[in-house]
Every structure is written in structure tokens, then in C-alpha cells.
Amino acid sequence: AQTVTQSQPEMSVQEAETVTLSCTYDTSESDYYLFWYKQPPSRQMILVIRQEAYKQQNATENRFSVNFQKAAKSFSLKISDSQLGDAAMYFCAYKVFGAGSYQLTFGKGTKLSVIP
């Protein structure tokens, strides 16, 4: 079974600084997707960034980027120029690629606080 581990229950960062959230996963599959979701107090899960396992290039979305290390099964999220609105729970998630695959497997989350 696939598992996703987030070892940092809480993190904090000064506004405008950079923070990195860690995620490791365990799988025997070779083709899969990895995601970072943000959950603000509104509870709605918002997709921040995704990475296809077959792509070597790390995904980037504006201030958000990932460091994907397939051999190490590591998928960290870097937030640059942190803003107050980045404060939220962040969840790492995994999804197997291909027909019949559908459910997301989530880590337990990291609560990010942004200090003004």
C-alpha cells in the first residue's frame, strides 16, 4: 500500500522569507502523480502544484516550487517570498497513474504559520 509521510506537523516562516515543507512517500509503482494541496480555515482543499513522476524537471507555479527526488521518494515544497495568505495546512498527496486509479493518498499535513 502507498503511504505518504509529512514529518513536520508545524512550521513557521517570516513574511517574505522562504520555507520548505517535507514529504516522503512509499510506493512500488513507477508512474504516479504527486500533489501539494493547501487547506485554509475555509476547509476547501486547493491544489497548489503537481508533479508527474515521469518528468525529471521540477514543477514550478509562481512562488511555489518542488524538489522531486524520485529515487529517494521525496517531494518537498518550497514557498518563496512567503505571504500572510500562505498561512494554512499543507497536504502532500499521491495518486497512481493509469486506468482504474482514482483515489488520492494524503499525508497528515503541515500547519504553516506566517509571521508578519
Binding site: 505518504v4 476547509r43 482504474g100 486509479s101 483515489q103 488520492l104
Partner: protein
């Protein structure tokens, strides 16, 4: 609709009562998922619907939990004889198809069993 809509937003119920939680997915999305988020935990998969196919109920924690999806659109998650351990946020998500990469989530229903 423009997004996934869930109702009610919050529900407080007495132990032993039955509750129904509703999810209205994005129009045209054939895949619908229910997840449970207990305090301090990640999301736990409950059930999955894809079009007219039989649902995957493998994540339902007990036979007190059931779900249906009428007309391939709106879904209802029913919890019978609620217990305190059922207290959680129940999140619904939909995607364009089963293998759709991106799932869109609703704002969830916070269920409190007292």
C-alpha cells in the same frame, strides 16, 4: 455549478441519530469521491463513484456508513446511529473522469456528534 457544493456546512447531532451529508459536484464531472478528515489527520478515502459503474466502497469504516449518487450527479453520504468517533470533516471531491488528474474539493461538512 461553478464548484463542488456541500451541505450542510456544519452539523451537530446527538449520538445514535442518523445524518445525511450532501455533495453537488461540478457539472459534467463523472467521478465523485468522499473523504473523511479527523482532527489532526490527513484525508481518509471513503467511497468513489464513476458514472454508472458500481461504487468502490472499500474505504467505508463500518456498515453504518453508506452513500448513493442519484442520476450521476448529487451524492448523499449517510451515517446511521452516529458515534462520537464519527466527528470529523467530510469532504467531497469531483473530477472530470476517473483518471482525471485534478480533483476539485468542496468546503466540507463539519460533523460533531455529542
Amino acid at each position: 455549478g461553478a464548484g463542488v457544493s456541500q451541505s450542510p456546512s456544519n452539523k451537530v447531532t446527538e449520538k445514535g441519530k442518523d445524518v445525511e451529508l450532501r455533495c453537488d459536484p461540478i457539472s459534467g464531472h463523472t467521478a465523485l469521491y468522499w473523504y473523511r478528515q479527523s482532527l489532526g489527520q490527513g484525508l481518509e478515502f471513503l467511497i468513489y463513484f464513476q458514472g454508472n459503474s458500481a461504487p468502490d466502497k472499500s474505504g467505508l469504516p463500518s456498515d453504518r456508513f453508506s452513500a448513493e449518487r442519484t442520476g450521476g450527479s448529487v451524492s448523499t453520504l449517510t451515517i446511521q446511529r452516529t458515534q462520537q468517533e464519527d466527528s470529523a470533516v467530510y469532504l467531497c471531491a469531483s473530477s472530470l473522469k476517473a483518471t482525471g488528474i485534478q480533483a476539485f474539493f468542496g468546503q466540507g461538512t463539519r460533523l460533531t456528534v455529542v
